[in-house]
Symmetry: C2
Subunit: 231 residues, 2 copies
């Protein structure tokens, strides 16, 4: 296998949950590229340090290592130009950098406080300790305090999705008639939530809900078949 | 002149201010298309009704009328395929629909309460009355009440620009190395503000400020030369 992906997992090595790794998983499936998966845990920094990163995803391709989901997407697009395009041309590549930024802030940043308290139960002791300490520092409060407010916070989260909702009322996918990397950027965050938390992010009558269903079914149900909660 | 653009103005027919008309102005300049401008005011609905719209921009091209800035952009891209591309391919076109939605909400919607009270002074009596009544209904309060809070509201507005800021730290324009329609979507809102209001939206050390300067200079200073405030 010439492609190997380091993916974040917890106690269940077959339950990858990082939103960024899911962007890459979907991108690899879109390109039709077989790849191996190397389970990686928060405290295994030494394992990926030789590849120049302290975070996953890290993609190994023959003798190269590429870290960071955006860099991996651009790498795949350039290294496999004959496979289905992730960006749909140079205009798409540039515009998706903006969608990537929006996805990092509105999606990953927006979902984070809503599900963060559910993550430690998926982690072994050293990872759970690391996660709690680093994330409580980021939040400036206990994970459980963030969770206690999530029924209220989800209302603001749903409101912040309005640009996505408006777009999906006009076209089936961010990629247009079919999904592309713009969709995987956003979907990665929802899949992260689905894998670690039973908390309901979306109302069933939300156009984003229907869009997420289609992406759960994409690539022969790649995301739906991965262990997670029915939300 | 085969292209004619209805553009929103007030008492000064040479001071177009609509954020959506500015998207179209910049798009026409990008395509290198000469066009006439037909000044249009809020209460002149009857003038554009025959073209199937009650809002501008409306673009007339020979025997066709196209309303709505997004539809005009896609029309121009398809009708003038040999002129410089607005979207950079089909992936760009699809992804920019999302940037268009974000621009409508975060940029136009975010700027609106900050500058709305400055607009009536640019309008003749019937337009000023129409504007105040319709916009106070939308705001749910007096224009002056929105303005009174703008020193506080601008902080939240600047924070909401973080996806744009993050992108412009990674590449010179939303379009990549050079501006394209993604940039004009966002810039249109800033130009609207510049034309009608002296209120300062951006700090000078904000990467968005430097990006806006470059777009003010684009196309031989098209936007900078149009009457407005130095902000």
């Amino acid at each position: 296998m010439t492609l190997q992906l380091f993916e974040l997992v917890g106690t269940d090595a077959g339950r990858p949950f990082s939103p960024y790794c899911w962007r890459t998983r979907m991108a690899l499936a879109h390109k039709g590229l077989d790849h191996g998966s190397i389970p990686w845990r928060f405290t295994e920094k030494a394992v990926i340090a030789p590849h120049g990163s302290d975070k996953v995803p890290v993609l190994l391709h023959v003798d190269k290592a590429v870290a960071d989901s955006w860099k991996i997407a651009t790498y795949l697009e350039d290294a496999f130009p004959d496979c289905p395009s992730l960006f749909g041309g140079e205009g798409g590549r540039a515009a998706m950098k903006m969608i990537n930024s929006w996805g990092d802030i509105a999606i990953v940043g927006g979902i984070f406080p809503l599900i963060v308290a559910d993550i430690p139960s998926h982690l072994g002791p050293p990872d759970a300790d690391y996660f709690r300490t680093s994330r409580e520092a980021r939040l400036g409060r206990k994970l459980e305090e963030a969770a206690a407010e999530r029924d209220k916070a989800v209302v603001a989260f749903r409101r912040a999705l309005e640009p996505l909702r408006m777009t999906l009322r006009a076209q089936p996918f961010l990629g247009g008639a079919a999904p592309n990397y713009a969709d995987y950027i956003v979907f990665g965050g929802f899949q992260w939530a689905r894998v670690v938390s039973s908390f309901r992010l979306l109302a069933e009558d939300d156009p984003i809900y229907a869009w997420r269903e289609k992406l759960l079914d994409a690539f022969d149900g790649l995301a739906r078949k991965s262990p997670g909660f029915a939300v």
